[in-house]
Symmetry: C3
Subunit: 154 residues, 3 copies
């Protein structure tokens, strides 16, 4: 069997999205808020599970990460964000819709590792200057009731 160009491109896209997520979460878990926020478009938005409306723009997104990083440091915990079971679906407008599971692990210094959160993450990615950026992200938490917010990121 030989692959058509389109099939090869999907494999490449899958690689790109997975590697993008890996770098993106390495930055997040290292507390590198600005570099993490640069993974969104300038007007990118992030619908957090419990927030009334999405955070918008890199400054607001980075500020949120700085607050979380400070809280984790105060608690003496390291967090690790894992994406898995990723589906990628290219859309006609050139964007890519991604749906995946997102796990957050928390480890206390000198202590045990626990499952902090089990979530579902839905992203719309767009290509810009040769790299992928998140135009919108919506995360839902398995421990919270399902909601259909009036303002969704996707």
């Amino acid at each position: 069997m030989t692959a058509t160009a389109a099939e090869t491109d999907l494999a490449r896209l899958y690689f790109e999205v997975n590697q993008f997520y890996a770098r993106h979460m390495h930055l997040l878990d290292a507390g590198d808020a600005d570099a993490w926020a640069d993974g969104f478009t300038p007007d990118g938005e992030f619908q957090l599970p419990s927030a009334p409306q999405p955070a918008r723009g890199r400054q607001a997104l980075a500020d949120g990460v700085r607050r979380s990083a400070a809280e984790q440091k105060a608690a003496g915990e390291v967090h690790r964000h894992w994406h898995g079971m990723v589906t990628v679906d290219p859309v006609d407008d050139g964007s890519v819709h991604v749906s995946c599971y997102a796990l957050v692990l928390a480890t206390a210094l000198g202590g045990a590792t626990r499952l902090h959160r089990a979530c579902v993450c839905e992203d719309v990615l767009v290509r810009s200057d040769g790299r992928w950026l998140i135009r919108s992200r919506r995360v839902t938490r398995d421990d919270l009731p399902s909601t259909c917010p009036e303002t969704t990121a996707t």
Copy 2:
């Protein structure tokens, strides 16, 4: 370095299997029993860890998922199936042998997330009408003694 056609095809196959598993488990965890069962061949079989013999055919497979989904709903839990550490090995007859780890996470509404199961999943996938289908699946659980059932799915 440049990739040969065969090498590119393996990368494509790896993408296809991983994306297939992601969609397959999204359907399972959403309780979409029939769509999930359509990921098996019409005579596909699933050797469950504690069942005396494999479930066979889409109807039986879907019925099993419906029962599990009802139990989870009654318990107020969401389950998430994660496949990871996936190996894909094409076989001469055109099928693909896959071996991977399979984790099941359970989250109670308003509660914590726990590791429900750690398993190993061995699948035989076949190509049909442009998509992958599971011809046989054998799952073993890490918390149960190893067994070599007389009737195995692979």
Copy 3:
């Protein structure tokens, strides 16, 4: 869109590294110490989180796995090593730098599954006779204070 040869190669490399890790960890968790150690170069080294200096060479590496496997057997536990959130970066000398998260799950026979370790793994992989080998590995544990050992594997 069509992929350039270089882009296709990166997708192939990502596949190869992920499949390499899957086989490598399947061997480790099965206690197949020598086959696991063959995934390192003959002079490969592994900087363990709490060891004063790296283990070097396949014999020493395999011996370490044999000791761990015996301990797990005595404790009646099965361990599963999961790599995730993998980044691959080819370097000019032909090696590939990989950074990923590494989770160790432990399951007691007849018991529950627990998160044993959350780690970060940094590997330098080299190509030899058509397959990837680990020239050096450095693993850090999230539950231990960050250290910059004088002798690092990378």
